[in-house]
């Protein structure tokens, strides 16, 4: 199996999962692989199976969440069935969608220390790490703040910093920007990109912010009803306009929608199509200049 080559940090093979209460499988045969340092976007409508997949990658399925799993997940060289969630947690970080369910420390510093303390890190090392990560998520100096007094957006960033404490090789983020304002969203995307660029951290980000995903992700997977229904570079994926109209779960970047309309009119060629703002600016300028000449 070429997918299982050591060059992949994550290999998922024919993964199925059924919750005890589920009438239909939450995952119905998901297969894909990820190379170290890739920034993967994961999209899809509610109920597509995105969060269930994240739980499988972190090993909470099959070890903690009950239900029936088939197929296999190899992450950072470990078969998730054969190791404990704690072992996986040393290499794989996960920040959940709902920070209320995730932020457990009474103060910011307690929340960040919780994971490493469980792994019996020396206190000095924990103390050294915290200010650096708080700065990364723009919460510098907020160590002693009580977590209940934080806004939703600040809690999301605490959850992100906590997931980073263990310096994960693979970081899974489940809608990390849903409660953030535009600047907060941009800050999280920037922080995540810096992690990737400076530490070669592999990123798998579940996200609905399509315009940012287009700009940041190397590759995007689209899930629907427990399956991966499409994947590709942002340019490839957002060109598949039918897919977006059919699943109805995600919108296209506005630029992609516009350029697709121009392509339908024959004003640009299919290979000129792009989901990037810079490309759109350039293409439209050329069209306007040509008409003017």
């Amino acid at each position: 199996m070429s997918d299982a080559s050591p060059s992949n940090i994550l290999v998922v093979e024919d993964l199925h999962f059924n919750y005890p209460t589920g009438q239909t499988e939450a995952l119905k045969g998901v297969s894909f692989s990820v190379r170290p340092g890739e920034f993967i976007g994961l999209m899809g409508p509610t109920g597509a199976g995105k969060t269930t997949l994240a739980l499988c990658l972190r090993g909470l399925i099959p070890h903690v969440v009950s239900g029936q799993m088939q197929g296999q997940v190899m992450v950072c060289g470990m078969n998730t069935r054969e190791v404990t969630p704690a072992q996986i947690g040393e290499k794989v970080g996960l920040a959940f969608q709902d920070p209320e369910a995730q932020v457990i420390g009474l103060t910011v510093v307690e929340d960040l220390a919780y994971g490493p303390e469980n792994y019996e890190w020396p206190p000095a090392r924990i103390r050294a790490e915290i200010p650096r990560l708080l700065k990364l998520v723009r919460l510098g100096g907020m160590e002693e703040r009580e977590t209940f007094s934080l806004s939703g957006g600040q809690k999301q960033r605490v959850a992100l910093a906590s997931a980073l404490m263990m310096s994960p090789e693979l970081l899974i983020l489940d809608e990390p920007t849903s409660e953030l304002d535009p600047i907060g969203k941009a800050e999280v995307f920037d922080a995540v990109r810096r992690l990737r660029d400076e530490h070669n951290t592999t990123i798998l980000m579940i996200e609905h912010a399509v315009e940012q995903l287009a700009e940041f992700a190397d590759r995007i997977l689209m899930m629907d009803q427990g399956q991966i229904v499409a994947q590709g570079t942002p340019r490839e994926l957002f060109h598949n306009v039918d897919l977006f109209h059919r699943t109805g779960g995600e919108r296209l970047p506005q630029v992609a929608e516009l350029l697709f309309a121009l392509e339908q009119d024959g004003l640009i060629t299919p290979d000129q199509f792009s989901p990037y703002e810079g490309d759109a600016l350039h293409l439209i300028s050329r069209l306007m200049e040509a008409a003017h000449a």
Partner: protein, 284 residues
């Protein structure tokens, strides 16, 4: 609105300080909301949007200044009366869900209004139908996904039939279909004459639904006007750390050289303006 302006909420020089804090969460805010408006409050996290909205249903009482809701000063009015006028869907739906079934959750409000059991039943079914959740009537609310819980919270509030509806982050946690169904419901509710106030970070939602936009920053109103004027004002947005929709930014970058309008809000408008200019030029 065809009728003469009639104020439903008046905010008069309101300052609000959370207990134990020195910085004002609201700093001398004055604002009048007219009946039948569809208004978006936008701004950074912590700008004061939610704090302001919570003074409308009396959950927060101004430290200084006053809020008048349908002629009632909120300090004097009492929460019960205000709850009948101002329905409020909070940002985190879990903070307001407390019943064992979806049906019970939605029935709670109407029952307190003193309706007969038949009327309550009818109201509940109608509200569930509006959010397309009839089939979930007997489900335990916390077994629902986040998007469904959000819709449940909306159903519970609209079942009260209040003439003013505040929805804090109506589309957070929802996919496109879920967002559209909530927003179309609010549009319909507004067309029926109700006043809608949304608090959101989603500028595309603002562009497509709100007729008036209030920009807040550091507890103050930074701008207040028709959505088209506010959302295309780069200076105001930059000051509030907000960004116009992608398509608006694209049009503005092409404004100088090719005369695309600066106040485009949707892809359709951009496309039409661009085609018009292309045709003019190739024709003339």
């Amino acid at each position: 609105m065809p009728e003469a302006a009639s104020p439903v909420i008046q905010v008069r020089d309101v300052t609000y300080l959370y207990e134990g804090t020195q910085a004002a969460a609201l700093d001398h805010v004055s604002l009048t909301l007219q009946r039948g408006e569809f208004i978006a409050f936008v701004g950074q996290n912590g700008a004061g949007k939610t704090t302001l909205a919570k003074t409308f249903n009396g959950i927060l009482l101004p430290t200084r200044g006053e809020v008048i809701v349908e002629g009632h000063e909120t300090r004097a009015a009492g929460l019960d009366m205000l709850a009948r006028i101002v329905g409020y869907v909070y940002q985190n739906p879990d903070h307001q869900i407390f019943s064992n079934t979806v049906r019970e959750e939605v029935a709670f409000g109407p029952r307190n209004l003193g309706l007969t059991p038949e009327e309550v039943n009818k109201t509940v079914l109608h509200a569930l139908e509006l959010v397309d959740m009839q089939k979930d009537a007997d489900t335990y609310p916390f077994l629902l996904g986040r998007g469904q819980r959000q819709k449940l919270a909306v159903a519970s509030v609209i079942a009260m039939g209040s003439p003013v509806l505040v929805v804090d982050e109506p589309t957070t946690g929802l996919d496109l279909q879920g967002s559209l169904s909530i927003m179309e419901l609010l549009r319909q509710w507004n067309a029926d004459g109700r006043t809608i106030i949304i608090i959101t970070h989603d500028m595309q939602v603002v562009a497509e639904y709100a007729r008036r936009t209030v920009v807040m920053a550091q507890g103050r109103v930074l701008a207040d006007g028709p959505t088209r004027a506010v959302l295309t004002d780069q200076a105001v947005l930059a000051q509030a750390f907000l960004k116009a929709p992608q398509i608006t930014r694209l049009a503005q970058s092409l404004n100088g050289r090719f005369g695309l309008p600066r106040d485009v809000l949707t892809v359709k408008e951009f496309y039409a303006a661009m085609k018009e200019r292309l045709n003019q030029r190739s024709g003339g």
